[in-house]
Symmetry: D2
Subunit: 468 residues, 4 copies
């Protein structure tokens, strides 16, 4: 409903716990914000690999009886953003297959940029594909590898892939976790104090908090971690490369209570707000966030600028698929279902409105109008990142370049479109400072258009996105 | 899941719009926070009165085809908190019946304190009851009235009732809205600019905002408003009495973006926070609200005390019926499903934790532990209302007196139970000041135990509550 | 889908068994053919009366958890044919209410012909009605009775009613079963050998067979049977009148394995077929029933006529709500979804086609065409009852008089409409002989138009039918 | 619920009709008796291949919106018997995949006896498998074929397979239908008179009858039929071999109104009954079928023996998943939910009870008891096929050999187990005569234990069956 970039997945894994599937269930519930369209868990009891997945929220897909159908001491879980319909279930993860390395299940967060190329090669060799997801390619490569062990075969496979992937995989014997050499997408590692300790992995640490696991650190880019009854082993499967961690995780995707890429998200956001305030002084009466994602930056902005922070927009968290707009159309109906202004906080005020990003600009315009309609004298829009000018090919759902308002319009003309009194984006330098990127370890491609990997073919990538 | 008092209902009504049922649908969606267990709408096209209701959220009960089954230019809607099961549907509102005054549908928010007594009388006269709700009593009294017109019969009925009711009723010809003489529960009046204007009524004004209606003011206690094709008439059906508006609407129930009893809720809450800060000076590093309801008071507190406000607890808005706690129990599991602390905001800090109320104290203790577990050095609990010592009989779901921790323990022993470093409640005087109650027009019975109406029989009331 | 008269209800009752609700569940499953749109069970454990009902088949409405919500040693059950939608659930039986005689639940099969008149009187006295069903009238009359005991109050109520009713009622203490003085609708009595014996009642004895109960005989017209912890008492509540048992129960409604009005249904049907064969000699090669209802009569016909019986039409028992006819319309699509001819049994044959009734004639014509399309040389239609010329007002769903083809056309013109080579109906005398009605104890109103009771107002009855 | 062999699938295909998916929907509805657990349809509009499948009956899986999601002029459909759960959906057909021959969808009826062996080979070459079904093997072989065209690749694939398969396949351009060289499972061909004519294929001709298609004949064993915009071509892909048509299709599986292997099923069944009567003269009063499958043979038996045929057992066609047996167990509960005896037809009678087969014998015993419990003086069981002594590996769900009562007991001891007065099976010779098998073109392996193909490994086959 809101015009935002969308994360495509959340992943979770656990090894060594008698209630592995239920903990995976809780883990992906904590990661629900990373994907609401399908959910899945695969588990193994050493004999077989079991899988349950379905369309919808974690709490709807995983009834107690579904969890009971997933025995064993290891499990992986996945939440996914995707398009509707039956085909979507086909693409739901984890993927569970039988190979010459045995039964395996795999889930990943990211996007393999050369998936179409590899797939064409595999098809020419006779491989068949059930879904349109890039995940299936990894499974084929594992199966075709001449290596005897699963971990060696996975290494073989991963070295043929380009792009972004934080993946978790179980066989009947092992849990393997791996991250692409650039480390685009996050993957945290933790431990649960049972005897012997159970290892857990998740896209964000908020999944650890819910199950009382402790955060140990990040899975390193180019690293593969193997957990089995012999314990946990970390190994580097690919040479060290320049890190390219997705900065948008800190700007918008991740929950503020998570640690991502080793850094608390809330801290980054507050700093974005502070630097935004320093960047341009603004005479105003109140700082108002677009909830919920704009809150942390707005608090930082208000503190730095010395302007009172107010919750001038209230979000309705009840959602509904089927609201029909009355024929005598209600102005900004879609936004109104979600947000409502608090008139007496806005009336007669000069408002600094803090949001995390502008994609097409249409929703932002409606919010500016809504604030002004509630009596605001001035509306100054402040965005806690630079103008978004390029699509992402590393696991984020973004519209085409031409739909991104900042890719074709100047800031002044965006301001005009938004009907705002002023508009300020956080500078690229300030964003890097906010995430403490002294060593240039983040990816800013959506703001710069300069991608950290060679992209085989943009047509392929766009096609792949359309089919996903 | 949270240990809170619960509002029992939200009501909405509209007369004079070609899409009456759909607007009622949107109206009760905006009032969803007042009751999530069942939803219902009745509409009339002048020929018959149609009704659709179901268990669950508004968006699930009202599919487009359900709305299409509700023709006509007037409608009333209702959301309800109630217990589960099939019987619950029987108690869902509106109630639609055939009487000697024709087909009527009625919905109300409140609790008729002499309902059991009236019901026993009606039963002795041969009346039969389908549900356990007090609403049915009103319908019987209307039907038995010797008065010829519906409005006169309703007046007849209302004069026999005691307690709290803000009710809406439609026949095939009229919409009637009435409020009890004390005005316990809110009922706002608004207008939608079509030609001729459509009148709308709602428990809170946030329902008007969503449909672009303008707020005209409150329906007065003891007032009855009749809307039909001849226009709108206001009349007093009962003598003027001392107002007893539920102060807890401002403390917790209502949305902060609503105007309730003529006053913006957000304004009251911010003032509660400010007065709480003035009441006792506290050395602290951060002010943290228990979200979402504690945010406005915490902002007021932080501003007044000059201590930074931080979102140190993050709420997960995804809900699920079926989460099973792992057998190796997770500490504070239930609360953790909903709240997660932001460690780096709390670690090493002296925290002022602002919440709106303490009922049994069990949840509050878990939250205090959670904050301390995230590294807080001190936790100072601040409650934006006085200690809750008495149950409510005016339409609020409260536990029995003995379950209210403040009814049997001193503040110091509550503090000890909560494991808090200090505990401060807002004083009654300060609460009255926060809602600007110069004329003593609010009900504070849950804080004082002094009820503004004679209660026939507490046993009856408790029984009635149990059966509801 | 088929053009038939439809039974409106099946009822079941049991007293004195620890699994009363589950046996009621099985009982109404066996009576499912008497009504497929809603199902309900009420039970009592001596403390309260519990009720569960829903739209759909018994097996869908009564999950194990629903049955578990119905404790106690007595229960009544009901299956109902009705129209779709939410309102329909409102009319689903049993009705469970609170009265001055305590909590009671009531279910009935039949139609109270003066219900509208009584209802108008009750409304004028201030009674309110939730549903449009005639059942509610009975409950009001019970409640208004000055009698102290439930059974006396029920007697009071029944004496004010006219028409057809076989009803079952439970309070927290008793089960009462009653039948109207004419005995329009069946009600059998049985016993289940536990200690002490459990009494059971059902519209048809097939419900007894499933639960291993023994058939004891019929509840007599004008009789009331009271079962409680003191045992079972039979009493006559109304003077003896001429019996008017619905002959159509034997023609079509009841299952052939049931005993109805003390007589095996299968026996009647076989006799109808034999008498039909005697009535008019027909040269033919095969006798083919329209399954399933025409089978028994066809067997009788074939045996009597000495013509081979063949299952020349096969019925598809899988049903579906949503089949869409292709736009290049398929001839007789609706009938084809249910019936298919066996070509090699029909090809070149002179076929006697035996069915139980013709209502509008449209379906019959399609079946004749289908048989001829499969190669039959001649199609001789034989109907095992007289021409249906009048609607029923005693609990059967029939179209209006003018829609009954036999009410406005001669037999010859019906034959022409059906495109049959010949058409023969069973004579009224033969029908009476088939059910062994020597004492004129059956109702033949749908064949004669002469109703055994005074009908207050046909307009009322038609209105009542439309609203049901 | 009944102890029968179970057919595993029904298939349907159509090429050249604007409503292909809807006609496939109707076609598989007519084949619903061949598999009730899942249903699926794939269609192509020349651009892509679309697929929808789900658990449950055709009418539940295929809503109008599901059918609308399947555009194009060709479609294939499938109904399947399988075990419950999520995994089952994975095995639901058609399988839709992307290969180097493009997008294809495949459905089949049968069982590939060397599937495990081929699969192991494919796995060793790196192929991955999503499901446990043998169908996936065919898709892999197609994809790995060096042949350029789809039909040539399919030929390649089929020549590597052993066992039973009647398969339908669509690409974006063609429909291909093929049958194994032995012709175990049926596959009829028909035509629908549109311009140009649409070709249709189905497991049984009853699917043609519903959509007004004409029967053209059988797809020949070892034949492949290709339909595309250039018309219809038949070609032999494998050398001529001895036919092995499943005789059990005529004994039990197929609908009596179908033509299967070119012969009307009803005709075979009537003949089985006649030959059974000739085989052993029995003094009896009535012939009673176990409905519905025993009806045709019982009619033949009765006609031949000159004993009256009676429907002495009535079947309840309403089904339910959730019936719980009362704890005071009801004798023969499971059978009673489905069958009820007609006492007055059986009481005091010597009964010939005709059924089509005995598998474990447990259900048959219950039915014999039920008939005797209804008063039968003697019960003579007559089975319209020989004793079943061996499991089937050609697409039929059968229990293990040791569970087949006839594999380990003499006829006399089976009779004793059944508590029957006499027991007679149709002889193998008579069965062959009933289906007019002069040229020995039927498979009788379940009666003889002599399988018409080499079976690679019975362990593999049993494993495969267990996983299916």
């Amino acid at each position: 409903m809101f015009d935002k970039f969308r994360e495509e997945c959340g992943v979770f894994a656990i090894f060594g716990h008698s209630e592995a599937a239920n903990l995976a269930n809780l883990g992906i519930h904590a990661l629900q914000h990373r994907g609401q369209e399908s959910a899945g868990i695969a588990a193994s009891d050493g004999t077989d690999v079991y899988c349950h997945k379905g369309m919808g929220h974690v709490a709807d897909v995983f009834t107690p009886s579904a969890i009971n159908s997933l025995p064993g001491r290891m499990a992986i879980g996945h939440t996914r953003y995707s398009t509707a319909g039956d085909t979507a279930l086909l693409n739901a993860q984890p993927f569970c297959v039988t190979t010459n390395k045995g039964r395996i299940a795999l889930a990943h967060n990211g996007n393999i940029t050369n998936a179409m190329e590899v797939r064409r090669q595999l098809e020419s060799e006779g491989a068949i594909f059930n879904a349109s997801s890039d995940t299936e390619v990894v499974l084929h490569l594992i199966s075709r590898s001449r290596e005897k062990t699963l971990s060696a075969a996975l290494r073989d496979a991963l070295l043929q892939l380009e792009g972004a992937f934080s993946l978790v995989l179980i066989s009947t014997r092992q849990l393997i976790v791996a991250r692409d050499p650039h480390g685009f997408r996050p993957m945290a590692m933790g431990v649960l104090q049972v005897d012997p300790p159970a290892y857990v992995f998740a896209s964000e640490t908020c999944a650890f908090d819910l199950i009382n696991a402790s955060y140990l650190g990040e899975v390193e880019p180019g690293e593969m971690i193997i957990v089995d009854d012999d314990g946990m082993r970390r190994e580097r499967y690919a040479p060290r490369r320049q890190k390219s961690q997705c900065v948008f995780e800190h700007v918008y995707f991740s929950r503020p209570d998570s640690i991502v890429f080793g850094r608390p998200v809330q801290k980054s956001r507050e700093m974005m707000g502070r630097l935004l305030a320093r960047q341009r002084a603004t005479e105003a009466d109140v700082v108002v966030p677009v909830p919920d994602s704009g809150v942390a930056a707005a608090l930082g902005y208000a503190a730095e600028a010395g302007i009172p922070f107010r919750m001038g927009l209230i979000r309705n968290h009840y959602v509904g698929r089927t609201f029909i707009e009355p024929t005598q159309a209600i102005r900004d109906f879609g936004v109104k279902l979600k947000l409502n202004p608090v008139r007496h906080l806005l009336e007669g005020k000069r408002v600094v409105l803090v949001d995390d990003s502008i994609v097409r600009g249409t929703t932002s315009r409606k919010i500016v109008r809504m604030v002004r309609g509630a009596g605001a004298k001035q509306v100054h829009v402040r965005i806690s990142c630079p103008p978004t000018i390029s699509p992402c090919f590393y696991g984020v759902d973004t519209p085409k370049k031409e739909e991104l308002i900042a890719s074709r319009q100047s800031i002044e003309s965006i301001r005009e479109f938004l009907e705002a009194d002023s508009l300020e984006y956080l500078s690229l330098e300030a964003l890097a400072q906010a995430v403490q990127d002294e060593r240039n370890e983040y990816c800013y491609a959506c703001y710069t258009g300069s991608y950290p990997t060679d992209l085989v073919s943009v047509e392929d990538l766009v096609t792949a996105k359309l089919r996903r």
